[in-house]
Symmetry: C2
Subunit: 374 residues, 2 copies
């Protein structure tokens, strides 16, 4: 039966767009080389500073997907031949390694089982073995597996070394109450279609003073130095994704109305609830230490992940499958942009699907409601 | 007096967005790794083939501004050390030269006075002097001056040589009835916020078989070969600007409902009318051979270009100024996305501004109406 009200999107990007943001995205265009745009852009930048709890102007926005900003990291903060460690524990870790090799860095791939989180002690050992290591490329939330990597612990290792900690936080920024400056992160990348609840096409790149000192001139379109000079004045080097900048302002207002501590708490609560619910339903989480942005589940015996996804979709809830070597083996339910009421919908559909297959154990919805009410 | 209905945008990008397209841009998101997106994307590709009147699948879309696609041209079709001619007759010609040098091509800058069009005989001479020239980088419509460069005449010179003709058609595609295949162009670049009447953030790159044979692996985010493999199957290498793809489909439908011959005719009529009107108003066109995408005017004695712009804006019509060395010296009225009725509004405001300054000669609106009625 086709869902009466169409499909709801519980994928770890893109995520559902709130009406307040859709209204901005559908507006008539304004020109970008105007005081009106500059004012809006500078306000957006002020709000972004509050988001990352840091007064520094060291951040730029690019008109690109998140991968573009990842490329910008490799091109702007490293020279050819620089040695870097790439933490590879999923599809996005693989992208770091690939990008590093493409632009001729010496990449040490530190492999972590998919679903596991990196052990900071392993990184410490690698850094001792490689005192000339210029950077660590890592995900904070590896959304292909749902694993959380403890970038704060790793920052303790890099902060007194000549090593930049470059964090793909594409599915972490706007979810966690990130404080990159006080944590000691050097570069942080975000993307519009994740917890910012926008359409894809805008990426964010924040960086430390330590990273700023390394800026190269290797990039053209993705040149951080050129963009920074323009963007602190409320302009951009190239034509910006005007509508996405205006919509980002609205998204930041939404996030900051709650405050990032509250936002993170909401996601923590949801994440805990989803873990309890999964247990009750007899499902196992893939990650040991999950990111609070999504719940990554293994299917039960007798039913494939893709059968579950298909059955959930036919009841109006789209969840994601696995990527790369996890293709067909897991399913992923995003929390981004969602609240407890939304998650009840996704969970109840999952419960109905399992029930219909005779595989439901205890009630997932009940366990979820109990946990989130504590 | 603040205009009652707000401002209208007559700038050569961004241009006004029709309601049909705004409705698409404001829609709830759909996921891109779905049959629904693939179907929409493949339909968009079919419509794009009709736009360029060529069955070839050799084209890709990038989530970036037009400059990103220009960078893609330099990275994907040329190797380090390749010799190219860059036609520099305005700000965008300068960008070609800068991009070529950035990525270590040997760039021969062929300078043309700003506002003049390149003489194909000069290019023929340069090609004879440089038989190892691998490419020509040129604008079809140099929107910083309003000049048209006769890329069809230059294609006659390159088609039997091992030289790629790379055309920035960012303000020409969707305006002219371009037939890159039969004209013998090798690479054509377009941008969403110009005659496609979308928000900025999507660029287009069409290429010939001759160009395809040259594809390098130098780019990562802007890798044409990787994108092509995915895009012919209705997918993308990186997360696409989903809303802009869906909106591009709508824009192509709008353009093809008229047909590109009709669209070009409309712009030709407007351009002719604007030239007559300017003459009647006592204003001089900057370009000798104007692009039909915009009208570029010199201010009359006794009034600066920026004073005219400011006065027009206060009557609700935003027009563009000069860029680079033409800053403050010209004003530019875009035709893109506009029809005769729209242009009457822009022109009548210009006429009112000149009248108020005691500088109006004959009626511009009358001359325009007479010309477009012929």
């Amino acid at each position: 039966m086709k869902p009466f009200k169409g499909e709801r999107v519980f994928t770890p990007g893109p995520v559902e767009i709130p009406d307040r943001i859709r209204e901005v995205l559908g507006r008539q265009i304004i020109h970008h080389r105007t005081p009106e745009f500059t004012e809006a852009f500078l306000e957006t930048r002020e709000l972004f500073k509050r988001l990352v709890d840091c007064d520094s102007e060291n951040f730029v926005f690019f008109s690109s997907s998140g991968t573009g900003a990842m490329e910008a990291c490799v091109l702007n903060f490293f020279e050819e031949g620089d040695k870097v460690i790439a933490v590879v524990g999923g599809k996005f870790g693989e992208r770091w390694a690939e990008l590093g090799k493409h632009w001729r860095l010496k990449v040490i791939e530190h492999h972590v089982d998919w679903g596991k989180s990196v052990n900071p002690e392993d990184i410490e050992k690698l850094l001792k073995e490689n005192p000339d290591c210029k950077g660590i490329l890592i995900q904070m939330s590896e959304s292909s597996t749902g694993a959380y990597h403890d970038v704060r612990a790793i920052a303790e290792l890099t902060k007194d070394r000549d090593t930049l900690l470059v964090v793909d936080a594409i599915t972490a920024l706007g979810v966690y109450d990130m404080k990159p400056h006080s944590w000691g992160l050097d570069v942080v990348v975000g993307g519009s279609q994740k917890a910012f609840m926008l359409t894809p096409g805008l990426s964010m790149l924040w960086f430390s003073e330590k990273a700023k000192d390394k800026l190269t001139g290797r990039a053209y379109y993705f040149n951080v130095g050129n963009e920074l000079k323009k963007q602190v004045e409320g302009q951009t080097a190239w034509t910006p994704a005007i509508s996405l900048i205006l919509a980002l302002r609205e998204a930041l207002r939404i996030l900051l109305e709650t405050g990032m501590e509250g936002v993170e708490n909401r996601y923590r609560t949801i994440s805990r609830g989803m873990a309890k619910a999964s247990e009750s339903l007899g499902l196992r989480l893939l990650p040991e230490n999950p990111s609070i942005s999504l719940t990554t589940l293994l299917p039960p015996e007798g039913l494939s992940a893709d059968e579950i996804r298909k059955a959930m979709l036919s009841e109006g809830v789209r969840v994601a499958g696995g990527q790369g070597k996890l293709k067909g083996k897991i399913f992923r339910i995003s929390h981004m942009g969602m609240d407890v009421n939304d998650m009840v919908v996704a969970l109840s559909v999952l419960e109905r699907v399992l029930r219909a297959k005779g595989l439901k154990k205890e009630s997932g919805v009940e366990a979820f409601l109990e946990e989130v009410s504590r």
